[in-house]
């Protein structure tokens, strides 16, 4: 009961009063006036009275009611206040800020929590517009739940961030309804900042989890009841499935290679039963398409939805395994290189200058145990630089392929060529020093120099071949080079002559023993080299089993022990000679020496062949020259020969003029005639010789009887025979068969032979012409008793250009032409011609002609 009710009661009182009053008046009126007909005025007093009674009755009653009500109301209000107090207290004790507003959004009531929340006292809040105090705005905010609930007539909720307060708030509005009309509302404002934060972090961690699991490259799984309850996409992908194909459908054993199923099953069991918390292990999995893969799983026992489960990660380490293998082999390769490279390599920690590693070459060069080297500080140990003066780390210099010094363990320093490369490995600086022993370099240079010397020697030989055509000079030069190039005690060149090797030229030799050696084919070192056709190295000449019948005595006498022999062969492969080098002490000739000598041998072959060629050319040139000389001699001879008969003719005719004795005149004329005939013969022979030189003799063959032809020719020379007091005998048998011959040419042969016999006979000498049959041919001989022909000249008298030097003596062949012409003719007939002679006793000229077969 409240004031309003009282007011209502009051209104009800008055209404009731009016109604009762009207009703009583109406009743009185109706009864008296209508029914009784009485006038209004007559009844007025009773009516007034009646009215008063009613009014007093009603008023009295109502007053009583009212007072009662008031009393009730009062007691009610007291109760209400108490109630109010209770409310307020309750209100205030709430954690949430609560206020009650009226329909106009004015705060009518607020609790302390709200005051605390908004930093204001309750008095400051009540009576003000709620948006003013809560949002500090002049208008309600856009999605004000209070306004919303006013519209929807339902409770509304809003969470929002209040920038004024810097906090997250939640606002709940409950409308206060009266007669379906909202008269106000109750707002509960909560500070949800912490909640929000928690929510945010939850969301974040959820997100993170999602990220981790969904995006993870590692497979993530939850196994329960033998099935996968969860797998992330990565895991599904590892096995070639989609997550949906696995989750709740497949179990871990479905993805395991049959071989490894017992292992996996056992591992799962152990964790499910809590025997172990977690296991990390590798097993062979199997993909959807059957491809085997290597998996590494790490899983632990967890409670999932209140029951035992395993959560874990899984990696496909197939590639890693392969990579590991590849890395291992590449590392092995690098290691091998490091270990076997002939360059010294030392790895030094750039900060501490401690040697971290050294390869065997470096260890060998430093010459200390590896354990002593590793861990030592490089300064003053392998490098002469002092601490703090390292060119690389301290002075900022670079060492690149420069000549340095390496300290050995014994303090000795050796020259090296060094390169230092600073590297960074795992954020640590190192120096990689690589170096080579320059001694070797120097050796290399030395060998290069030697090669150059070889080259020089070769070119010198080449030049010498051109410049010195004399073989002996050349070979002397070659053996000297051979000795110098090989650095040996002695060098020898021997030449091959038919089946024997003979000493030719040598240097560094003390005795004459070697010069006498004549190696027969198949014996000694020389023939061995020729037979093998390659350089032969003999360390000890006296014990080498390969040598047969070697000239041990001569070599011992000379004092040589070790040999290197290289055959000198012509371009056609014929052995020309042997080039030897030898030492007096026992040594083994090196490959390089062999190479040098082989090169020289090739040059020697060229030189020898060249010289031989030159000799031949020289010989041919000399022949040509002598031929030319012969030609001029022939001219001189011819003129001489021609002039002699002219002299005779001239002298004879001159004397004839003054001669009176007819017999003497006749004699002189005969002399002149003979001289002319002689001249004719000379001219004829000359012409014939020239003709024969150009073409073959043309023979017109007929049967010729020698018994007939010989006296004819002899008859021609009778006067000369008489003049020289020569006797001639003919011994031509009558039964001699005729020969097939050219008559004129055969006459010429006889004439020339007889001329010759006359010319070289002594005065009073004898000439014999004989002819006889012999083995199907006719043998003719013209012999004289002249001065004869020296043995060595017998062959040459038939030479067309033959003559002994005409300036010193008369040629035996006269002009040379006569016998040469005779030879040509006889040979054209198919016969032979030759001479036999005993100097001082005479000469015999023979020729044969084929006899005519009868």
């Amino acid at each position: 009961m409240n004031e309003m009710e009282i007011n209502i009661l009051r209104k009800v009182k008055w209404i009731l009063l009016a109604i009762l009053f009207s009703l009583s008046l109406g009743f009185e009126y109706t009864r008296h006036v209508v029914m009784e007909g009485r006038s209004l005025s007559s009844i007025l007093p009773s009516m007034v009275f009646f009215g008063i009674i009613i009014i007093s009755l009603v008023l009295g009653t109502f007053s009583k009611i009212e007072s009662l009500m008031r009393e009730i109301l009062h007691s009610k209000e007291e109760l209400k206040w108490a109630q109010e107090q209770w409310w307020q207290q309750t209100f205030d004790s709430m954690d949430e800020g609560v206020f009650i507003s009226d329909a106009d959004l004015t705060i009518v009531r607020a609790n302390r929590a709200l005051g605390r929340l908004l930093n204001a006292s309750i008095e400051e809040l009540v009576g003000r517009k709620c948006y003013e105090v809560v949002h500090n705005t002049k208008e309600p905010i856009e999605n004000c739940p209070l306004l919303k609930s006013k519209k929807s007539m339902k409770a509304e909720y809003l969470e929002y961030y209040e920038p004024n307060l810097g906090r997250w708030l939640s606002v709940s509005s409950w409308p206060i309804m009266k007669d379906d009309k909202m008269t106000g509302s109750v707002q509960v404002i909560k500070d949800i900042t912490e909640l929000k934060k928690a929510e945010e972090s939850l969301r974040e961690s959820e997100e993170r989890f999602r990220m981790v699991t969904e995006k993870s490259l590692a497979g993530v799984y939850i196994i329960q009841d033998g099935k996968f309850r969860y797998v992330n996409p990565a895991l599904a992908e590892i096995f070639g499935y989609t997550p949906d194909e696995i989750i709740d459908k497949l179990g871990p054993l479905d993805l395991t290679h049959p071989d490894d199923r017992p292992l996996v099953a056992e591992n799962i069991r152990k964790r499910m039963h809590g025997e172990v918390e977690s296991i990390q292990y590798t097993f062979q999995g199997i993909k959807k398409d059957g491809t085997p893969i290597i998996c590494e799983a790490l899983g632990r026992h967890v409670d999932y939805h209140g029951r035992s489960a395993i959560i874990g990660t899984l990696l496909d380490i197939t590639d890693r395994k392969r990579l590991e293998e590849a890395l291992k082999s590449s590392e092995k390769r690098l290691k091998t290189i490091f270990e076997s490279i002939p360059t010294g390599i030392v790895i030094i920690d750039a900060e501490s200058h401690r040697i971290m590693d050294a390869n065997p070459t470096a260890v060998k060069m430093i010459d200390a145990p590896r354990e002593r080297i590793i861990g030592s500080i490089c300064h003053q140990f392998i490098c002469p630089a002092e601490r703090g003066k390292c060119p690389i780390t301290d002075l900022g210099k670079t060492v690149d392929h420069s000549e340095r010094v390496l300290l050995k363990a014994d303090g000795q320093s050796i020259p090296i060529l060094k390169t230092v490369i600073p590297i960074v490995l795992d954020d640590r600086k190192y120096l990689v020093e690589s170096f080579v022993d320059i001694e070797k370099q120097k050796q290399l240079e030395e060998s290069l120099k030697r090669s150059l010397e070889e080259l020089k020697a070769i070119s010198e030989i080449d030049r010498n071949i051109i410049e010195s055509p004399d073989l002996s000079t050349m070979l002397k030069f070659i053996v000297e080079k051979a000795r110098k190039l090989t650095g040996s005690d002695a060098a020898i060149y021997s030449f091959v002559e038919d089946d024997v090797i003979v000493h030719h030229t040598s240097v560094g030799i003390r005795t004459k023993a070697l010069e006498k050696i004549r190696l027969k084919r198949g014996t000694g070192l020389g023939w061995l080299a020729i037979q093998k056709n390659k350089p032969i190295v003999v360390e000890d000449f006296f014990t080498d089993k390969r040598l047969k019948d070697a000239p041990y005595d001569a070599v011992r006498e000379e004092g040589l022990v070790s040999f290197l022999a290289v055959p000198v062969t012509s371009r056609g492969g014929d052995p020309l000679g042997i080039l030897y080098v030898a030492n007096r002490r026992k040594t083994k000739f090196t490959k390089q020496q062999q190479r040098a000598l082989t090169t020289l041998a090739v040059q020697t072959a060229v030189a020898v062949e060249h010289a031989k060629l030159l000799e031949e050319t020289k010989k041919a040139y000399e022949e040509l020259k002598s031929l030319d000389k012969m030609k001029s001699n022939i001219i001189s001879n011819v003129s001489h020969e021609l002039r002699t008969p002219i002299t005779i003719v001239k002298g004879a005719l001159e004397l004839v003029r003054f001669e009176e004795d007819p017999a003497e005149r006749n004699r002189l004329l005969k002399i002149a005639l003979n001289a002319l005939r002689r001249q004719d013969r000379i001219v004829e022979n000359l012409v014939e010789a020239a003709r024969m030189e150009k073409a073959e003799i043309k023979l017109s063959l007929e049967d010729v009887n020698l018994a007939h032809i010989v006296p004819l020719v002899v008859g021609e020379i009778k006067p000369i025979l008489a003049m020289r007091d020569l006797k001639i005998e003919l011994d031509v048998s009558e039964d001699l068969p005729p020969v097939k011959a050219d008559y004129e040419q055969l006459m010429r042969v006889f004439r020339n032979l007889l001329d010759n016999a006359v010319k070289f006979n002594r005065e009073g000498g004898r000439i014999v012409v004989s002819a006889r049959k012999r083995d199907g041919e006719v043998l003719v001989c013209v012999s004289d008793t002249g001065i004869g022909i020296p043995r060595g000249e017998l062959e040459r008298v038939f030479d067309r250009f033959y003559q002994v030097d005409s300036s010193t003596s008369r040629p035996y062949g006269g002009m040379g032409m006569g016998l040469a012409v005779a030879k040509e003719i006889v040979e054209a007939h198919g016969g032979r011609i030759w001479a036999e002679s005993r100097p001082g006793e005479g000469s015999k000229f023979y020729f044969t002609l084929p006899a005519k077969r009868s």
Binding site: S639, H640, R643, T644, I646, T647, I648, K650, G651, A652, E654, L655, F658, L668, I671, N674, A675, M723, R724, F760, R762, E763, I787, S806, S807, T808, S809, R810
Partner: protein, 125 residues
């Protein structure tokens, strides 16, 4: 009148030269070659030697030189008698063989006698 030794291997030449010299009043002794000439000189001393160059055995120049190098015979005048007409041959006769004269073949009777007598005159002077 002189005694002349004629050395030539050609009998015809010897015959003709002898005739010419004899016609001029000289006496002639013949030799066939250098060897015979030297042999003759051992036993006789001619007034002049007429010698061919081209002969079997040692040639005329060599023989002449021997004669001229021999103390016993070096004063005997020698005339070379040759068909070698080149200036070199004439020079060789004088310088090498140390001959006193030179006659070319073919020769005239007059020339032969004139040269021989000229050399004889000079040698006597």
């Amino acid at each position: 009148m002189a005694n002349i030794l004629l050395v030539d291997d050609e009998p015809e030449i010897r015959f003709l030269a002898r005739k010419m010299l004899e016609n001029a009043g000289h006496t002639v002794v013949e030799a066939e070659d250098g060897e015979e000439c030297l042999e003759l000189l051992k036993s006789s001393r001619p007034d002049l030697i007429l010698m061919d160059v081209r002969m079997p055995g040692d040639n005329g120049w060599e023989i002449c030189r021997k004669i001229k190098k021999n103390r016993k015979t070096r004063l005997i005048p020698v005339v070379m008698f040759t068909v070698r007409t080149s200036p070199e041959s004439v020079e060789k006769s004088k310088r090498y063989a140390l001959a006193d004269g030179h006659i070319n073949k073919p020769f005239d009777k007059e020339e032969l006698v004139a040269v021989v007598e000229d050399v004889l005159r000079k040698s006597k002077a």
